[in-house]
């Protein structure tokens, strides 16, 4: 049964029964008005955006130094020249990420769990985990990259001297410490009553962590974990500095590459 203003009334009785519970009724005049307002809002938003972009283009384009900046940063020839190298570097970037990220997650989780161990027998493990986290968060990542110089320089047998290997190892160690703290915060964010409920069902401490606490902890810390992933992606170019300093004798980088390589790791 359709609703019309004539039978939409608070004065319900036998001849004018109340609408059933699922009925939604909006006054047609109000509906038309709110649709009109929505169209107006969309129009104003787009117009405002266009005016803003036009202003920016006008202000930047009329500035005296724009010619030089355009020549340096937005040169089509230089871009097409260095693009294959950048693409290659980007692919390397992605591969390092795919290897480093799972290792960081595993490392962070294990360290966070180690710090929650309560039994006195695990005191050494707790101390080591705490030291690791405090040291690797305290040391600037760029210093941690000294691993990449130092470990190969020791010339130990069986220790790889590959720059990618040590770069990735540094990233895992450094970010593992941050991610461990994120996981620890996540574990702390699950209310103790959840553990209590799990334990009172008879689940062991390990089981209540595995099935009740950790799944909730990981959900709670997904946004800060994504922060760390993105940051990881941006830290990796620091690898480039010492890698480049090793290969300094090979100045084949174009001007554009020199500017953009801090965004990606290029091995010439």
């Amino acid at each position: 049964m359709g609703i019309s203003p004539s039978n939409f009334s608070y004065d319900y009785h036998v001849d004018n029964p109340a609408p059933d519970a699922e009925t939604v009724y909006v006054d047609p005049l109000r509906q038309a008005r709110s649709q009109k307002e929505a169209r107006q809002d969309a129009f104003i938003g787009i117009a405002s955006l266009l005016v803003f972009v036009a202003l920016v283009v006008l202000l930047v384009g009329r500035s005296s130094g724009w010619g030089t900046v355009a020549e340096t940063f937005f040169n089509r020839d230089q871009f097409s020249e260095s693009f294959p190298g950048l693409l290659q570097a980007f692919w390397l970037n992605v591969r390092i990420f795919l290897i480093a990220e799972p290792l960081i997650l595993i490392m962070g989780l294990l360290i966070a769990l180690a710090r929650t161990l309560k039994s006195p027998i695990f005191l050494p493990i707790r101390v080591l985990a705490t030291l690791y986290v405090d040291i690797f968060r305290g040391v600037p990542t760029i210093l941690a990259f000294l691993l990449g110089f130092g470990m190969p320089a020791l010339q130990l047998t069986g220790v790889p001297s590959d720059a990618i290997f040590w770069g990735t190892a540094t990233l895992v160690l450094s970010y593992g410490a941050y991610v461990a703290e994120v996981f620890r915060a996540g574990i702390g964010s699950v209310h103790p009553s959840q553990t209590m409920a799990a334990r009172s069902l008879g689940l062991s401490s390990l089981q209540s962590n595995r099935f009740v606490v950790l799944p909730q902890a990981v959900r709670n810390v997904t946004p800060p974990l994504l922060n760390d992933f993105i940051s990881l992606k941006k830290t990796r170019p620091s690898l480039q500095f010492w890698d480049q300093s090793r290969c300094y004798a090979e100045p084949k980088l174009t001007r554009l590459q020199t500017l953009i390589t801090p965004l990606m790791w290029v091995r010439p």
């Binding site: 009553s193 959840q194 209590m196 409920a197 799990a198 334990r199 009172s200 008879g202 062991s204």
Partner: protein
């Protein structure tokens, strides 16, 4: 009832938190297949007493024997053995929010009782049906009303096939409209012969289903007896005062 033939025998237990005494030599005897109601003001030790029976808290002194063969307060007690036999339902439900209702219920049977997935699910569905919740099996707990959530929590405890069920003010967080459906569930369990100990503020309900009512005052069982004795003819001034305030 003498101590020898009581099913749960709480004998002079003491418990303090940070130097603040909560239980001060509390004793209680509960017969098998009976329902005991713990009443008393907030802070009188009802919840702590229940949690000690389930070994969620360790006692400072005293002992709790179950069926004459399980000393809950022993130093080397097997906690899992206790919690397989004694389940507790909390005021705040404490369902696991990341699991569907059915998974909440089958977690214990699968992981602790080592039952098969299939058997646990069938048993859980039977219990859910018995409590009119079968349509909620695949919902997450945040889709449930307070009354439904608390009944799921009861089902989760029942799925462990306990001998004793402890209820810790299970209706206190509920909208008055929803209290009835939870109390109906308890009535049903009572008829089924489970041994029940409940801390409650529902005096009329305690009066209706409890075989034994214990009034706790400042951490001791101040007065206990049948519902008629405690509610109709309280002997001690504190009991009379408490009942006057809650009625």
């Amino acid at each position: 009832m003498s101590k020898q033939d009581s099913y749960i025998c709480v004998d002079g237990i003491w418990k303090a938190f940070d130097g603040y005494p909560v239980l001060r030599g509390t004793s209680l005897a509960v017969a098998q297949h009976s329902a005991t109601a713990l009443i008393g003001a907030s802070g009188s030790g009802k919840s702590t007493l229940l949690r000690c029976i389930n070994a969620l808290e360790t006692v400072d002194a005293g002992s709790i024997m179950v069926n004459g063969d399980l000393d809950v307060t022993a130093f080397n007690v097997d906690l899992d053995a206790i919690r397989r036999r004694i389940e507790i339902v909390f005021q705040s439900y404490n369902l696991f929010p990341h699991m569907k209702v059915l998974d909440n219920i089958t977690l214990g049977p699968i992981r602790v009782l080592k039952k098969s997935q299939k058997d646990s699910k069938v048993a859980a569905m039977e219990l859910l049906t018995r409590f009119g919740l079968e349509s909620k099996a695949l919902d997450y707990p945040d889709r449930l009303s307070g009354g439904q959530a608390q009944r799921v929590a009861i089902v989760r405890a029942l799925a462990m096939e306990p001998e004793i069920l402890l209820f810790d003010e299970i209706t206190s967080a509920l909208d008055p409209m929803l209290v009835g459906e939870v109390l109906d569930s308890v009535r049903e369990l009572r008829a089924g012969g489970l041994t029940i100990v409940m801390a409650t503020h529902e005096m009329s309900f305690a009066k209706e289903i409890a075989d034994q009512v214990c009034f706790l005052h400042e951490g001791v069982v101040w007065e206990s007896g049948t519902a008629a004795e405690v509610f109709e003819r309280p002997l001690r001034a504190e009991t009379q005062g408490f009942l006057k305030r809650v009625h």
